[in-house]
Amino acid sequence: MDSRDKVLDKYSSKIYKNRKEHVIEIDGGEPQVIAADTRAIPGIMTNRGCCYAGCKGVVIGPLKDVVNIVHGPIGCAYYTWGTRRNKAKGDENTKDFTQYSFSTDMQETDIVFGGEKKLRQAIKEAVEIFNPECIMISSTCPVGLIGDDIHAIAAEAEKQYGIKVLAFSCEGYKGVSQSGGHHIANNGLMKYIIGTGDAEPVKYSVNLLGEYNIGGDGWEVERILKRIGYHVVSVMTGDGSYDHMKNAHTADLNLVQCHRSINYIAEMMKTKYGMDWIKVNFIGLESIKKSLMDIATYFGDPELLARTEAVIAEELDEIEEGMAYYKSKLDGKKAAVYVGGSRTHHYINLLKYLGVDVVLAGYEFGHRDDYEGRDVIPSIKIDADSKNIESITVTKDEANYKTFHSPEKLEALKAAGVPLEKYDGLWSDISEGAIITDDFNHFETEEFLKLLKPDIFFSGIKDKFIVQKSGVPSRQLHSYDYSGPYAGFRGALNFAKDITMATYTPVWNMVQAPWKSEPTLVGSLGGME
């Protein structure tokens, strides 16, 4: 029996039937199908969060000049206050509200009589105290159930105060994971913000999509892009702002880092504004090199290409020695990577570069295309849970529509390997023999840990100490354990340093107490003088 069967075999028949589609072993043959983006099983300790976490927690929360009012009881606002490490910095022109947590703190009477009055008053107070340019309202579970019309209140407030006010119906019970919340957030930003600015277009300008500036990742990527000569119009959404996002439509190209959480905007902007998008990955040296070359190839300016090559060479030179050292410490080790809906894939090449093979991997809330590549999208069956998440259709914006390249040129670029509207998913980089578990849960984590014995485990805070108590070093790839950045060339060095530290910290040599392995009673047997 192989590892996969050994673990699945412990389930009751009903759970087995469900989970066997989500757990597969990569066999290196035909592209494999995996079940994903389906309901978690009640009672199973899934790592997933909810729709609200995906919408407010991930996508709209990082927008720094926005007062994000959470409409609901206090908890949901509390848990998303400063916990995700989406770093932000305000300046004299941009207010930074990310240090604040705003909530309507609903009480029992609001649940009984409705919370609309309270929300109106909360908006009024936010305007009076902070005078923001934009307010966003997120619903939590009870709001949808009692039927508060947050969208009407937002529209009314927008008129009354002359500022932008958006509402997101991202109640926690919608969809099957955070993923539904990403989609809802994408819809709102697309409908009401992107395209409302009137900035002048700048040459060689890009948007950075699905970059949340965890540990300063976005800043590191921006630094490199600026060195080469690109102008970043808007970052969605780490250290991003309403102010910049309004003008996102003026960029030439969208760069998509986290495919899962933001591909909807990339697609809709292609339809509405004609803007091309490419999948990039700024984690890991080979991936960064390829991404930078793809961008330069897209623009096709020989000067940009030369500058890109020069910057890559300089940046590599800076870290080469360090990377070689850490590689010597990590070569031959095995890793497990369980994160998010795109991030697992992002780290595979960086780990490979360091000589670390990924033997166990998966996503919390990825869809089939995040595993198998976008080619499978037409064949994905939409179930009832996903149907509950609105999919909006956009049409061509005649005034702002522009194409950077002719269709022929785009085909040529695709043929040259530029990933235009293309993402091949985790399958493109995972090693044969690896076990993949979708919507991984605590039981499978623990069992596979015993069977596959990885040397290091990458996941989140809920798993971290479980894994570490089992004797396996564990690093969080959601928060980087309060380190970072991990993106870019310098980030790769930080990552290598951190996992070397996690693997070699002296504590690992002392876990076993001496009396567990050595006799503690020294004496002679009676009568053996």
Partner: protein, 454 residues
Amino acid sequence: MLELTPKKVSDRSTLRINPIKTCQPVGAMYAALGVHQCMPHSHGSQGCCSFHRMFLTRHFKDPAIASSSSFTEGASVFGGGSNLKTAIKNIFDIYDPEIIAVHTTCLSETIGDDLNGYIQDAKVPEGKLVVHTNTPSYVGSHITGYYNMISGFIKYLSMATGEKNGKLALFPGFVNPGDMREMKRLMKLMGTEFIMLPDTSGVLDAPMTGTYTMYPKGGTTIPDIRDLGNCEMTLGLGELTSEFPADFLEKKCKVPYKTLPLPIGVENTDAFIMALNQFSKNEVPYEIEEERGQLMDILLDSHQYTHNKTVAIFGDPDTVLGMAQIALEMGMIPKYMVTGTPGAAFDRKAAALLEKFGVEGCTAKQAGDLFELHQWIKNDPVDLLIGGTHGKQVARAEDIPLVRVGFPIIDRYVHSYMPIVGYKGAIRLAELILNALMDRQDRDCEDEDLEMVM
């Protein structure tokens, strides 16, 4: 830092900014983790469970296990009964706890799920248990959820058999495993037989051995929870947290109760020791006398560094009151005392405390938030902040030292292992407070004023 906070305190009746409380379910989850071989279960959408597990893990730096009913939109419309039944079966099949402790969420409360009925209908394996409590997130705070869960265990399990067990029932209040350990140590030293519910020591401060166990050695056992009904009396520590379950146990099993403040500081610990003394009729052993004497020595030796220093204290109601007590004992002035948890009793107790020490000009507020506390400080500053991690923004903005005490502390290590209760806890607090103030003096003074001996 917090530059957008205006100095002027405006009329704000609705918008909650930078809260000092969170919702009931996380408190219920914490209480349930203090029961041996218990799986806390969150009846709602899976995000609640994830948030709560993350939050507890960040505070304790230890695994916080719990499962969820994983509601989808369908369950929210048709009720969560089938989700709960499935969950109960799966939890016993896969995770094999002795007991599942279900708490509700704002979702399942708003749709009116009948937990009593669902649990009665669920298939529970022979010898295993399922209990529940209602924890609507829109009432009270995490403190409310904590005592509701304790009462939930009592409701389902505790019985008066008619035969007293000679033990003291102890509700420790919303405190860390390190505090629970210290309470147990003091009770043992006093020769008091006790049952403490919950007991998160040995669960959320479990040792690293190289082998993970889902149910570590600690936690109140089920036989002990049953036996609570036979206790001679109940001592509820933290009056605003433990009175509710103490009263509940009295109503159900006729166990008389007494409540005391959390044993933080000299007099509060004295009251705890005296209560144990009256209960067990044992003399106070020299070991405890020695600890108390050491504390007296330390407070006297160092009083000049704390005298008349002003302090802002925020956090959970009983913790704030306890910290205000020790601050007053050290000659400090608790200028602002703020809790996010609603309840007028907090204001009354704070006022009584100030009166006892003859201190005037201080403000206490229940259902307050950090935004307002910050505004007060901007208008009339303090020398020291005491509270959880979220105070670090205010500390930085106003350049005030922060002594981390209470819940949550998600940006430091070790704190949950170390007590703040008992004389030993007071010694630790004295050291934390003195170091914060004296480090400050060393950092800020002129070169010629740097004291080698202090």
